[in-house]
């Protein structure tokens, strides 16, 4: 196999690898295409005309099928990836020329493009690096093979191997300089939504994330002294208000834009959390319970909060960064009996008060199993007739002590109604525990709501942050006890922790760096960079913007040098021999008098045409042309003809201007 074929095959393999890395189906498509590509290259033979016709037909059929599938299936990008893979296989089996290898490289670029849209995996960066190194070399080799005479070996690449690193350096510079403007036309292809954080969640939905190790957020959580807060930690996501018997939903509310306020809670102890969150929850912001303030990073978005204290940001940003200020909490830490009504009302928003008064968080669904209400009543009686609100709540909590936690529910229990969980199975995951607790509390008249969020977190000692993954998804209850919302968690502890893995933690640290440096580099970061540059260079107004703009224009100017430098002129090369100079002077004289000289004709013929048009006064030019020929072709010494040539030039000055009366 020729060197160019090896290089182009390697680059094509990178393109298919990118598709494979980007998604699961992509792995299948990329793998199959790679097998076909390698088979075709290794075979190396020239296809017969019949085989070529067959391939052309197959190509046409593949294109038609791809067009149909685009309208029939939802995963159109995978259809595109399959088409690219097919075209690569087709080239590998039928193309044997450098031009075919070049087309292979272009198709590989399409593979990279699709991979970028499908995924943000950091492995893609490594693939791009390899592509940037190999693709220019492959293109150079294609050209050298094309330029070599038949049968002769092509010139060696030699120092041209440096084009790959040069491309990488220039690409890095362009990546920094290219302005980040986001058109936003059409639907974006952001990450899939995390189940359990939609406006409506069925029982069992939230548990779908329990086996997904994808990172959701990382938070640097410190206390008032700057000490790291140890896991496990609750991160509140979405509070759900209404239970309809099969699932929970948020009460439609008008979220209120809240100006960020970086106030500390006014207590002796507080937590500060710097959160970096992948926007997979429809804009829901994860915050520690007892949050008092939230500040979006550098004002990147407006904060909205509703009556259920759900903090929300925009859905358009891929990554959300913000800082939270919260009070340390203890799950189940119920307030003392002496909490006053004033304390009950203190600190509530107007909407929240309205929600409490309306009974939003004590509603029970129509058609609820009467046994649930009976159970709640039994538990209230068992707590004692004079039991306080706190005691009643503790009694309800204690009822779940004998229940089993099931990570993988039995099929007959999956999707079970609440009554089955409370009375028959007595086993389930966190959603059931939270739902049961909330419903029983509501049946006793205690306002309660279910909260879907994250619990646990893994401390990454290398980066000093807590990582929360989809498998940390958890449900618990917030109950209105003693004048405030209290976090209550009825789920047993089992199955909620996982063993840390050093290799994975280092990978997560690198992933965080990749995200912050590569993925989150935006216009704000560019302007920050310019500002930093300006500060370094001194306070020169607009220097940073001018530098960025100048670098961009300079880059465009390099690409458009031909057009820009057309404005420059250059003197045409003039003849060096003396008779030639005299002849050139004569031609300039003739043109200056307005007479055209046919540039495509030899000098003598052009002079003859001029004589035919201008008359005898142009004959000195013909004489000069012949004198020049005599010197160049006849071997006569130019010195002997100089005087005659000069006389002819002097005589030519009698030639009138074209159009002037004779």
């Amino acid at each position: 196999m020729q060197r160019r074929s090896i290089a182009s095959t390697a680059v094509a393999a990178l393109g298919l690898a990118a598709v494979g890395v980007a998604s699961g189906p992509g792995l299948v498509v990329g793998g199959a295409a790679l097998l076909g590509l390698l088979s075709g290259r290794l075979w190396g033979g020239a296809p017969s005309p019949a085989a070529l016709r067959t391939w052309r037909l197959a190509n046409a059929a593949a294109l038609v099928m791809a067009l149909l599938l685009v309208f029939l299936v939802s995963d159109r990008l995978m259809v595109g990836a399959g088409l690219v893979g097919w075209l690569l296989v087709h080239r590998a089996w039928t193309g044997r020329t450098p031009s075919d290898d070049r087309i292979t490289l272009l198709l590989s670029t399409l593979g990279l493009l699709l991979a970028c849209i499908l995924s943000l995996d950091p492995l893609l960066l490594g693939i791009f690096f390899g592509f940037a190194l190999l693709a220019p070399l492959a293109l150079v080799q294609c050209l050298l093979d094309e330029a070599a005479p038949p049968g002769a070996p092509p010139p060696r690449v030699g120092a041209l191997w440096a084009v790959g690193p040069a491309v990488i350096v220039i690409a890095a510079g362009l990546f920094v300089v290219l302005p980040r403007v986001q058109g936003g036309i059409g639907a974006g292809l952001g990450p899939a939504a995390l189940p359990g954080f939609q406006p409506q969640v069925a029982l069992g939905d939230h548990a779908m994330s329990r086996f997904n190790p994808d990172e959701v957020l990382r938070v640097v959580l410190t206390d008032q002294d700057g000490a790291q807060v140890e896991p496990p930690v609750y991160m509140r996501g979405v509070a759900l208000d209404v239970f309809d018997g099969d699932g929970w939903r948020r009460e439609p509310q008008n979220p209120v834009k809240v100006a960020a306020w970086p106030e500390l809670p006014g207590t002796e102890r507080w937590w500060v959390g710097e959160v970096t969150q992948v926007n997979t929850a429809g804009g829901a912001l994860f915050t520690p319970p007892e949050m008092h303030a939230l500040v979006p990073q550098e004002g990147a978005f407006h904060l909205r909060m509703d009556m259920s204290r759900n903090a929300r940001g925009p859905t358009s940003l891929a990554v959300l960064r913000y800082t939270t200020y919260s009070v340390p909490y203890a799950p189940g830490a119920l307030p003392a009996e002496s909490a006053a009504i004033e304390a009950r009302e203190a600190g509530l928003g107007r909407l929240e008060k309205a929600g409490l008064r309306s009974g939003l968080w004590t509603e029970l669904p129509v058609g609820l199993d009467p046994r649930v209400v009976e159970l709640a009543e039994r538990l209230r009686i068992a707590a004692g007739p004079e039991a306080s609100e706190r005691a009643r709540v503790e009694a309800v909590l204690a009822h779940f002590a004998d229940f089993q936690y099931t990570l993988d529910p039995q099929p007959e229990h999956a999707g079970q109604p609440l009554s089955t969980f409370l009375f028959d199975a007595k086993a389930g995951h966190c959603e059931y525990f939270a739902t049961g607790l909330a419903v029983l509390l509501r049946a006793q008249g205690v306002p309660a709501r279910v909260v879907n969020g994250l619990y646990g977190g893994e401390l990454n000692p290398y980066g000093g942050f807590l990582v929360f993954r989809q498998q940390d998804a958890h449900s618990w209850v917030e109950a209105w006890v003693g004048g405030r919302w209290v976090l209550l968690d009825a789920t047993p502890e089992g199955g909620r922790s996982q063993e840390p893995d050093a290799l994975r933690q280092i990978g997560e640290l690198l992933l965080g760096s990749y995200r912050s440096i590569m993925l989150d580099y935006d216009l704000a970061a560019q302007l920050d960079g310019l500002g930093a540059l300006r500060d370094r260079l001194g306070d020169r107004r607009g220097l940073g913007a001018v530098a960025l703009g100048g670098a961009f224009v300079f880059g465009l100017g390099w690409l458009g040098r031909v057009g820009l430098r057309r404005l420059a002129g250059a003197a045409p090369r003039r003849p060096t021999d003396e008779l030639g100079r005299l002849h050139a002077q004569a031609e300039s004289l003739v043109r200056s008098r307005g007479w055209p000289l046919a540039a495509e004709l030899p000098a003598v013929a052009a002079a003859e045409r001029l004589v035919a048009e201008a008359g005898p006064l142009a004959e000195p030019l013909l004489a000069l042309a012949w004198l020049r020929y005599r010197a160049r072709l006849g071997g006569e010494p130019a010195a002997a003809l100089r005087a005659e040539a000069q006389d002819a030039l002097r005589a030519l000055r009698q030639l009138p201007r074209r159009g002037a009366p004779r």
């Binding site: 990546f175 980040r180 036309i185 002129g569």
Partner: protein, 322 residues
């Protein structure tokens, strides 16, 4: 009318500057694959701007970097090159003339790759083309090329173009050089009357002056114009004070005088072609050949230079259908 003439003058000036620019700096166009590449780049640009996806910006930056490197290397590849022709000594109209196109790399470092050298005619057509795979820095390379001139007479070769698709085959870049060269194209060689048909063609007759002999010395005589200089007897010339040449016995030398009849138009061209053929044939056989062309009489002589002089005269003879 004034605006029109001003616009025409502006366009003429622009065309002249464009031609100057092409000669001095070169022009660039995308190839077929380059066109597809630019289309993909445009698509990636739109996708990156639309989504703000930084990975797409990485791909975009990479594609742009490849194009930038391509443009820079392409210009570098054609820098400090000099072109020249190596034409065969004799050019005949209508016949393939095999020569070479040469390129010199005057750079101190960096080879030039994948050069195509084209000899342009007055329009945009090609007279000859050659491919040079690479040229070392400070070196030169040549590749065979074939010219074909349609008509006899003086021909001006004006421009040589060097183009290359280096480094990636995505862009085609070229520079045009003014390499003026005036050549004389001899008439097409066309076989005419056979000497066997009726005596020597065009009136072949022996030279009464006894020139061209290379046998034994048989005498001396005064120099007359047309005598070869090698026949001058210097000692005798110095003694008598005037040029004297020797007379040698001719060793079965055939002297042929080719006479072109006084015809015009196509017939003249045909006659000139046949005369050229006879000159070439007889000089190749070692005969002394002379020429009667219009009012001009040239004696029969031998030698390569004389042959060229005769063919020159045929090429420059005015008239005919050119």
């Amino acid at each position: 009318m004034r605006a029109g003439s001003a616009w025409a003058a502006l366009r003429a000036r622009w065309a002249a500057q464009n031609a100057l620019w092409e000669r001095e700096r070169g022009l660039v166009r995308p190839t077929r694959e380059g066109g597809w590449y630019l289309a993909v780049l445009a698509g990636v640009l739109v996708a990156a701007v639309n989504t703000g996806n930084n990975l797409l910006y990485v791909v975009l930056a990479m594609l742009m970097a490849i194009m930038i490197v391509s443009n820079l290397l392409a210009e570098w590849n054609l820098r400090s090159l000099r072109l020249r022709r190596r034409l065969p000594p004799e050019l005949f109209a209508g016949a393939a003339a095999s020569g070479a196109l040469c390129v010199e790399n005057h750079r101190r470092w960096g080879r030039s790759f994948a050069l195509q050298i084209i000899d342009l005619d007055g329009g945009s057509g090609e007279l000859a083309r050659a491919v040079v795979p690479s040229v070392e820095p400070g070196g030169e390379a040549e590749a065979p090329a074939t010219w074909r001139f349609p008509q006899r007479g003086p021909a001006g070769l004006r421009r040589l173009r060097v183009e290359s698709r280096f480094p990636f085959g995505l862009l085609r870049r070229w520079r045009t050089f003014d390499v003026h060269e005036e050549v004389l194209v001899y008439p097409t060689l066309r076989r005419g009357l056979s000497p066997e048909r009726g005596g020597a063609p065009f009136g072949a007759r022996p030279d009464p002056q006894g020139r061209g002999g290379d046998g034994d010395l048989v005498g001396l005589r005064e120099y007359s114009p047309g005598d070869p200089l090698r026949d001058l007897h210097w000692l005798t010339s110095a003694r008598v004070g005037r040029p004297v040449v020797v007379i040698r016995e001719a060793l079965r030398r055939v002297e042929v005088i080719v006479r072109v009849p006084p015809v015009e138009g196509e017939a003249l061209e045909r006659a000139l072609s046949e005369a050229a053929m006879e000159i070439v044939r007889h000089t190749a056989e070692g005969h002394a050949v002379g020429l009667e062309l219009g009012a001009e009489r040239r004696p029969a002589r031998v030698g390569e230079r004389w042959r060229r002089a005769l063919l020159d005269a045929l090429a420059r003879f005015p008239g005919g259908a050119r």
